[in-house]
């Protein structure tokens, strides 16, 4: 077993356990913290795959900005633990059973139908990691320039939407 494989297996164990911890824990703050750990492990997977820029974006945007926003909202609402209410008693076992079916199907289909020809991943051969950011920038600002600009408009719309949604009540109260 090589070092890469050992690292992969350990990290995938951590990723699955933290995802399950996010799912199981009753307290929403614990869920958010488990999810931060999960995002960080996925960032390490990106590094293993030879994508350092995506790994750093993952940590800054997901583990940083998005999860801090989540924690702010959890603490703002004070809704960290909900009382247990079971409306549909058969829903949980059915959902778990169907989830196993989904996992088996997705794995089978992705492996048999969608697998690219390159079988073994060699991160060093993909791209030299010092050149990753330069190459990414060249492709981003030439081939993918229009999607990039559209993304900026999307972010602007999201910002305006969030401000409008949360600011309406305050304005009504003032007038």
């Amino acid at each position: 077993m090589t070092l890469d494989l050992a690292l992969f297996l350990t990290l995938s164990l951590v990723a699955i356990v933290t995802a399950l911890g996010m799912l199981m824990s009753r307290n929403a703050v614990y869920s958010a913290l488990f999810l931060v750990l999960n995002f960080t492990t996925v960032a390490v997977f990106y590094l293993l795959l030879g994508a350092p820029f995506i790994a750093m974006s993952q940590i800054t945007v997901y583990a940083g900005a998005i999860m801090v926003l989540f924690l702010f909202v959890i603490m703002l609402l004070g809704a960290d633990a909900l009382p247990k209410t079971e409306v549909l008693p058969w829903q949980k076992p059915l959902a778990i059973g169907l989830a196993f079916v989904l996992a088996a199907e997705a794995t089978y289909l992705l492996i048999t139908k969608a697998r690219p020809s390159g079988d073994i991943l060699q991160p060093d051969a993909v791209v030299n990691s010092t050149d990753n950011l330069r190459e990414l920038g060249v492709v981003l600002f030439s081939d993918y320039l229009l999607p990039f600009e559209v993304t900026s408009i999307l972010l602007l719309v999201a910002m305006v939407g969030a401000i409008v949604l949360t600011g309406k009540e305050k304005k009504a109260r003032k007038s």
């Binding site: 196993f100 079988d119 993909v126 969030a162």
Partner: protein, 100 residues
């Protein structure tokens, strides 16, 4: 030297955990976090495929997905805050105003 199948299986497992979270949890915030987990699992698969075919397009695509996820979180959390203001609860079973 990790076979790409390992990444695919891991990504499928993480995605399924996200789906299960959406199905069995009642807290709107946890459901939202599960959606983030699903986005992350698919990102992992995309990056694995993109390094298997030695191309940059997958990484660019993941970059856009991260940007869209950030926008989605901003709007979604604003909606959850609004729902909490009117219902005093974020239990999705309580959101039944349209029920006949």
């Amino acid at each position: 030297m990790i076979p790409i199948n390992y990444y695919i299986v891991l990504s499928a497992i993480l995605f399924t955990i996200g789906v299960t979270g959406v199905l069995i949890r009642r807290n709107a915030l946890i459901i939202f976090m599960s959606i983030e987990l699903m986005l992350n699992a698919s990102n992992l698969a995309i990056v694995a495929f993109s390094s298997a075919i030695k191309s940059f397009s997958g990484q660019i695509f993941v970059f856009f997905v991260i940007a869209v996820a950030a926008a989605e979180v901003a709007v979604g959390l604003a909606l959850i805050v609004e729902i909490f203001k009117s219902k005093r609860s974020i239990d999705v079973d309580q959101m039944s105003s349209l029920k006949g």
